[in-house]
Assembly symmetry: C2
Homo-oligomer: 357 residues x 2
């Protein structure tokens, strides 16, 4: 076994989850990641935790979704599993990133609605979403498998304590702020209140790699337009050049240059999918290229991302409303050129460089 | 996809489980069986059932068991999953049949004890144990992969209605009987009461392939000696030439020519592992060779098997005691030569041939 797989598992178990004796652990990995599963089981045994091992298979999920189409229900047994579990590790890394390409967006939306209580039970626990490097993911990134493995293992194994300190500077700025404004190029100019909400320091726990600072916009405060100039993969389809116009926090109009119907499917899931649940600012300088994988792209040091759909409850202050939705779809703005992040009127990042760097 | 995989999935879903709308299904397969998983998910979607997909990985299990050693506990989340599930399909077919070879028997016994409530919850539901043909299993059988695939798909796709009728003749004989006596070669001569217990017709439901008639011996009635002349695989180790001597139903002495310590580990799991839970008579003529896989070997038309450990509750009459144990270990006697099955003093099979054949 590649020793980096065991190191990756140790980071998940000790840094991301803080697994301890008696914890009921769910390990949900694609079949290709069996060596990571072996390393995780070894550590679970050593720490006195109890693993259940799920297969995270896009191919099986696609077959199920297409055959069922729409009358989805919340699976009691899956819900019970997640309700009783204390910790989750979920890895991506299927053999084909476009496996879900022929699942109708409305089918995915219907499934997500039925599955929401199951997802919520997971989000209430300790969880870590990570990546196993596979040839399919390397292909998506336009990289050799070897180079992609290096990219992934470099990104997950940085000094997370140092990264935490670096990001703490930005947490302090946003956490005390009233308003954040993002300007980029000719089309993006959006303002949102973050007053009363909490800004969190993602140092590689819920996401591995981590490397962002994130909060929830106040629900009705978002005003302006955004051109998300980095593509995103949604259910095996690449959505390009998303443009959103917000009024009173709500997406009042949208377009995409490619796969606009998939984007429409997101907004059709529920009404709250039209509201922002998250504003995130990437700060991980170890991620030095786009790989068309949100888990990495959104952490890059010169991007911001906004997610339509559910907010993380921990980021929403007591006085504010938490946006609840079966969707949470991140989209990225490249901030490396002609771009500014302003907090309460002060520039904190210009063309991808923070003022404190 | 090999069309036989879809046919296999249909037999599981429609014949073995009788899956219906709203059923919560657990699919637990080795990674190599992903195509069977895809076919099962497709059918689950079509029938309106809700699947959870577990990875049945000996390699991960080995890592966990070796690292934890002994302080196992019943995992609440796994227990909750099984309690809420309506149906289970479990396939064997790992890449290496000896993967568990270096797990100490006492570790496996300790795990089985902690895991018993989880197993019991499954046994209370509809379940189907089946096989996916892999190169590793073919190697164990001493066959080419292609020939082994043919062997497996032939065995699971027989006319189960016809098989049911054939076996019904034997069910009628044993179900009305007081005593069964098995004699084979110079060493095997064992008697047991089956009075008041129920004989079941295994026509490919809980086991696929099926093809046996089975009941529970009355707990304290078993008397005599048995030489199990067919080897069995237990946790990746081949146990050869098991010899058991029963008095008042209890195994009072035992030996094995190879891996006797593994056999001792079974008896050390709990006191009831020393009592027989099952007597089975193989009747599937489509299985024409030993493949060192109990799921197939015990169904062969000229074998009987006895399992130490737990009895199936459905085979135990109201007046009789159901043997409960964390173990259920089947062992086989070859009845093809110099062998007789007698029921209440009447010969019903001689040298592997039933009187009604």
């Amino acid at each position: 076994m590649d020793p980096r797989i065991r190191e990756h598992a140790e980071t998940i178990v000790d840094h991301s989850l803080g697994l301890s004796a008696g914890d009921d652990l769910v390990i949900r990995l694609p079949a290709a990641a069996e060596e990571l599963a072996v390393a995780l089981h070894e550590l679970a045994g050593d720490r006195g935790a109890n693993p259940v091992y799920l297969n995270n298979s896009d191919r099986a999920r696609r077959a199920y979704l297409r055959a069922r189409e729409d009358d989805f229900e919340t699976a009691d047994h899956h819900h019970a599993l997640n309700e009783e579990a204390d910790a989750f590790v979920i890895a991506r890394g299927g053999p084909n990133a476009t496996e879900m390409e022929d699942v109708p967006p409305e089918t995915t939306a219907a499934f997500n609605r039925a599955n929401k209580p199951i997802q919520d039970a997971r989000l209430d626990s300790d969880w870590c979403l990570t990546q196993f490097p596979t040839p399919g993911q390397a292909q998506l990134a336009g990289m050799s498998t070897d180079a992609y493995e290096n990219f992934v293992y470099d990104a997950v194994s940085i000094d997370w304590e140092e990264q935490h300190e670096f990001q703490a500077q930005m947490v302090e700025i946003v956490d005390d702020a009233q308003e954040v404004r993002i300007r980029s190029g000719e089309e993006t100019d959006v303002r949102m209140s973050v007053a009363g909400n909490t800004t969190l320091n993602d140092d590689g726990q819920a996401n591995l790699p981590g490397g962002e600072v994130f909060t929830a916009p106040v629900r009705h405060s978002v005003e302006g337009t955004v051109h998300f100039d980095m593509p995103l993969y949604r259910q095996g389809r690449e959505i390009e050049d998303v443009r959103l116009r917000f009024e009173n926090g709500r997406v009042e109009s949208f377009s995409a240059a490619r796969n606009e119907d998939v984007l429409a499917g997101v907004f059709d899931t529920d009404e709250n999918a039209r509201y922002l649940g998250e504003l995130g600012i990437g700060m991980n300088r170890a991620i030095d290229r786009f790989t068309y994988n949100m888990l990495f792209d959104e952490k890059m040091g010169d991007t911001v991302h906004m997610a339509v759909g559910s907010a993380y409850p921990a980021t929403v202050g007591e006085e504010n409303e938490c946006n609840e939705s079966a969707e949470h779809v991140d989209m990225i703005v490249d901030m490396s050129e002609d771009s500014v992040i302003e907090v309460d009127g002060e520039v904190v990042q210009r063309d991808g460089e923070f003022v404190f760097e």
